[in-house]
């Protein structure tokens, strides 16, 4: 292909169909293969479901504010905590992380896009399909309330088995079609995650700019790589578990059905072989974001870069060796309990190393307290608190009192909100100027982070006490005589303060989008490659291939010696861009049809089996057309005037 005349005309694919290149508006968004647009869509979906999960939990907190309330029914309560957990993890945190991976990893490694742009779009639309299948159950629950819909299995239409779905409560004997929505939803989400991870691994290993060796990679990209490996090793365990459960439910196999000789405990092993690495799948990218923000605003390199990278990888490995610490009360036997206890303690070492090195990064720097930096420092504090209660859990006999109580709820919310959410919002404040091209103004961001930190401590601090005073998790209500009332009221008040803080963040983001003030390429005087591009970056990212001569390449390019300056390769040549495609979206639609229809089929709705098969046919058709439409592609010539920074 030459880089000449037909540059901006749509092309025909090998099948003779027109490719949707250079389209505008919603067609462009639906068919895009641009990692930045895909990242933005992941981000918007993540923020949307973050709000959905937030509303779910506020209803839970109102219900628990006083003893023996019946604000929502027990069944609705169970559905809300199930969907809160599932939504926040799979539909809130993971897509927000995927958003940053998508947007930032190619920019940080000096690439034009990810290795497989259409596969990237496939991941996005399959993710959307999974999210739809999980949440469409609310619609059918509403139909049930109106009396329009009465499936086999009864009122249990929104999943109510907990985000962990411990067998045998997920079998047809003990739950309704909610479990089918849950199984199909998660299975589809797993496909999206695995495809995306393979894409990032290939991208990071192969598409780094010249001179950007592995030990010069920004830590965020490193953590994206480790996380992607975790996903491709961890998710198959969940896939197997879900398949077995699906077979039990649809075809009456006997993996988990006790009366047929099934072994429900096997579900727990499979689930946590996935579920524990999943915790690190969430926290490692958060640590990566923190490792970007702290050096930028301490104006000094990350302390002990090699050991931070290495400890990230060690956490990844050890993450697969501690799953049974979720099962200390299941009667593992003394030897297994002891082994998992010690391994769990061991994982505190690389985690501690990261905290020490972040303190070391700040030490001797010149700290600028921007909003992202406050999130980052807050992250260290809050994550440390969550880490301490984690150490307390690792002592298995003590954990026997803590397991399945509010102490555990406190622990992982310190890690997830104090850790992951703080890091993700810090990341939003750090990178939104790059993504939107607009710069933050005003004090609202400072107020918001203050409310978030205060609210989260008020919410989850008292939960430690509640758990140790004997309040179990996942309980619809509690007797007045238990004495849990006062603290629960505190927790609910704290939750509203936290929600108010988070609402302020959302308002601040809306204000940002309406601002006129532009960010420029490098508003923070930052250190890594993404800040050399325009804000927002051009569709081709870099007008030429950057040549890297040091870690923190852009910092040394700006402030270092002449030999540390970045160079540019292939300047002035045309840039090959991938063609857009309808077929990832088509496959996503097929998956959504399949998952929804097969779940309804379980509820005895007529013809749904056939529609489910039609969904599978759509998936097959989409894949076939995708394969045979060919790679396509076109060339564009960046306008030299708007090209990258050479100052």
């Amino acid at each position: 292909m030459s880089d000449d005349s037909h540059a901006l005309k749509p092309e025909k694919s090998l099948l003779g169909l027109m490719r949707p290149d250079h389209s505008r508006g919603w067609v462009d968004w639906l068919t895009t293969v641009d990692h930045k647009k895909i990242g933005i869509m992941y981000g918007l979906a993540g923020l949307f479901f973050f709000i959905v999960g937030g509303i779910e939990v506020m209803l839970i907190r109102i219900q628990l504010a006083q003893p023996e309330l019946n604000f929502i029914s027990a069944q609705a309560y169970n559905q809300l905590f199930t969907m809160h957990g599932t939504t926040m993890i799979f539909l809130g945190a993971m897509p927000l992380i995927a958003a940053f991976f998508n947007f930032m990893v190619p920019l940080q490694i000096g690439a034009r896009d990810v290795a497989f742009p259409r596969l990237n779009a496939f991941s996005l639309w399959v993710f959307m399909a999974g999210a739809l299948v999980l949440n469409i159950s609310w619609l059918f629950q509403l139909f049930y309330l109106f009396g329009w819909f009465d499936p086999i299995g009864g009122k249990d239409i929104v999943p109510s088995v907990g985000w962990f779905g411990y067998a045998p409560i997920t079998t047809t004997e003990f739950s309704g079609i909610g479990s089918d929505f849950w199984v199909f939803g998660l299975q589809i989400l797993g496909i999206a995650s695995i495809a995306a991870s393979l894409n990032f691994i290939v991208t990071i290993l192969n598409m780094r700019a010249p001179g950007l060796t592995m030990m010069r990679l920004p830590v965020f990209t490193w953590m994206a790589l480790v996380t992607s490996f975790l996903i491709i090793f961890a998710f198959p365990a969940l896939t197997i578990a879900l398949l077995e459960l699906m077979f039990d439910r649809l075809f009456e196999t006997n993996f988990f059905r006790v009366e047929q000789g099934g072994q429900p405990i096997l579900w727990q092993h499979l689930f946590w072989v996935f579920g524990h690495p999943e915790v690190y799948i969430l926290i490692l990218p958060a640590m990566g974001i923190i490792s970007e923000i702290l050096p930028a605003f301490s104006r000094k390199p990350l302390f002990g870069y090699p050991i931070i990278v290495f400890s990230g990888a060690v956490i990844g490995f050890l993450g697969f060796a501690v799953w049974s610490h979720h099962m200390f009360t299941t009667g593992l036997g003394n030897i297994a309990t002891a082994a998992f206890s010690l391994l769990t303690m061991a994982i505190a070492v690389p985690t501690g190393v990261k905290i020490f090195n972040w303190v070391g990064t700040i030490w001797g720097g010149r700290i600028k307290f921007t909003v992202p930096m406050i999130y980052a420092v807050g992250f260290i504090w809050m994550f440390m608190m969550g880490g301490f209660s984690g150490i307390m859990h690792s002592a298995a006999p003590a954990d026997a009192q803590q397991q399945d109580t509010y102490f555990v709820v406190a622990h992982f919310h310190y890690v997830i909100i104090g850790g992951i959410v703080m890091a993700l919002f810090g990341g939003l404040y750090y990178w939104l100027p790059k993504i939107t091209g607009k710069m933050w103004e005003g004090k609202l961001g400072y107020w918001a982070v203050g409310f978030v930190v205060v609210g989260l401590n008020l919410t989850f601090g008292p939960m430690h006490w509640l758990g140790l005073l004997g309040m179990p998790r996942r309980t619809h209500t509690y007797l007045e005589e238990t004495g849990f009332g006062t603290l629960n009221l505190w927790v609910t008040i704290g939750a509203f303060i936290l929600a108010f803080g988070l609402l302020m963040v959302f308002i601040d983001m809306i204000i940002l989008l309406r601002k006129k003030k532009t960010a420029g390429k490098d508003p923070w005087d930052a250190r890594t490659l993404e800040w050399t591009t325009d804000s927002p970056p051009k569709v081709y990212n870099f007008h030429a291939t950057p040549v890297i001569r040091s870690r923190d390449a852009y910092w040394y390019h700006k402030h270092g010696t002449p030999e540390q300056k970045m160079g540019w390769e292939d300047e002035g040549k045309g840039i090959h861009m991938p063609s857009q495609s309808w077929f990832p979206l088509l496959i996503g639609i097929g998956m959504a049809v399949m998952g929804t229809a097969l779940s309804l089929h379980s509820g005895g709705v007529p013809f749904m089996g056939y529609i489910g098969i039609a969904g599978i046919v759509i998936v097959a058709l989409g894949s076939y057309l995708w394969v045979f439409e060919g790679p396509g592609g076109y060339h564009i010539h960046p306008d030299e005037e708007t090209s990258d920074d050479n100052s």
């Binding site: 003394n334 020490f356 002592a395 006999p397 954990d399 400072y446």
Partner: protein
């Protein structure tokens, strides 16, 4: 921004004071108040982890706070100042790794010790049944400690004493100061047996048996709860344990083994049933007799057993001595005068008990949503809601009569 930080600081301080005030209060399920060796060991281990973590927190948190304060950018500083671009210090890093490993060893050794201690039932001579129990025992039980088989079920508990030949529900009776071995089972989904003041939890899993040991050091009434999510009414699956003196325990066993009186006050249930069959009108006008005959005709006997009465329903709690239990509906409804009494001295109030029994029979769905008595058990039998709208529907008056009959099962 400084003003915001200061305001926040004041706010946090206030919250801290309030939280400390919150630490004062106790709960009847508090793990801070251990009344048995297992819970005590678990609390000691927890306290150790708290001390180690506090130490680390002071050290790391102090360093972090110092660094944040010391190296912050001040208004008078040059905004373009670039600190020395240092990359780390291997000696410091390795030193910190070694230090953290050492601190973990401090936790690890007592943890290993406690894992074996809390799991393995001690071979305690004084606790063996032969050493203290005078009543009738199953063969070979003299050399064993008391064994209780716990079944976690949706949403109640069954307690079997195989060595003593007793089955009861929702209230576990144990002798004080004696090691008791507990076998944990389930017939439906997962549950978890948890008596916070006596011992940490262990799950009941269908298709396998778990085990633990418990011992109560003081007589009293202990509160427990299912700790593993088990479906719609998981929150309503409570239970109680009474630790009795040796003498009271013997009395309790004796009482459990004595069948309750027949509804007509005699000892022979069979004779009474024959007389009712011969003359159905004989029950009219007497609440106990009417309640008893309703107990048969409204199919209660399908699920509930009454030992010695020839009623051997399966699936529901054994009702042989239901009126001697301090609670109803797996601990959710308390029959006692003082509902938060931990000494175990509070007496059953017959009026509260009647009210509770009546409500439970008449509207169990409103007390424990999804319960099997109301909705029935999948594929096994129908629940009370299937009687709704039929001539067999239970009225509140009938429920009260059944309750009066049940109050006779002392």
């Amino acid at each position: 921004m400084n003003r915001i930080l200061k305001g926040m600081g004041k706010f946090l301080g206030l919250i801290g004071i309030l939280l400390l005030a919150g630490c004062d209060y106790q709960s009847r399920q508090s793990t801070f108040d251990p009344k048995g060796p297992v819970a005590l060991r678990q609390l000691e281990l927890f306290n150790l982890t708290v001390w180690v973590c506090t130490f680390i927190f002071i050290f790391v948190g102090g360093a972090l706070a110092y660094a944040v304060w010391k190296y912050r950018e001040r208004k008078s500083d040059d905004p373009d100042f670039k600190p020395k671009q240092s990359h780390g210090n291997p000696l410091v890093e390795i030193g910190l790794i070694v230090a953290s490993i050492l601190l973990l060893v401090v936790i690890a050794i007592p943890t290993l010790d406690a894992i074996w201690y809390t799991h393995d039932t001690p071979d305690d001579e004084a606790s063996k049944l032969g050493a203290w129990y005078q009543g009738e025992l199953s063969e070979g039980a003299e050399t064993e400690v008391l064994e209780v088989v716990v079944y976690g079920l949706q949403w109640w508990w069954e307690f079997q004493y195989p060595q003593l030949g007793i089955t009861t529900a929702n209230e576990l009776i144990i002798p004080v100061g004696k090691v008791v071995h507990v076998e944990l089972r389930s017939r439906d989904v997962l549950h978890s047996f948890w008596l916070p003041k006596i011992a940490g939890k262990v799950d009941t899993i269908p298709g396998r048996a778990n085990s633990m040991w418990i011992q109560a050091d003081e007589e009293g009434h202990y509160y427990g709860q299912c700790a593993e999510y088990c479906g719609e009414s998981h929150a309503y699956m409570l239970f109680r344990a009474d630790a009795l003196s040796n003498e009271d325990f013997h009395k309790w066993v004796e009482h459990q083994k004595t069948p309750p009186k027949a509804p007509d006050g005699g000892d022979d249930w069979g004779a009474w049933i024959s007389s009712v069959n011969a003359n159905p009108d004989s029950v009219k006008g007497d609440d106990v007799l009417e309640g008893a005959s309703l107990f048969y005709s409204k199919t209660c006997v399908v699920c509930h057993a009454i030992q010695g009465a020839g009623i051997a329903g399966i699936g529901g709690p054994d009702l042989t001595h239901v009126a001697s239990r301090k609670t109803l509906a797996a601990g959710w409804l308390d029959n006692r005068k003082e509902t938060n009494d931990e000494s175990g001295d509070a007496e059953i109030d017959p009026e509260i008990q009647l009210e509770n029994l009546t409500r439970w029979i008449y509207e169990s769905e409103n007390i424990k949503p999804g319960n099997r008595m109301y909705i029935g058990s999948v594929g096994v039998q129908n629940g009370l809601n299937t009687l709704k709208g039929t001539p067999n529907e239970i009225t509140e008056e009938e429920a009260r009569k059944i309750a009066i009959f049940l109050q006779n099962l002392k």
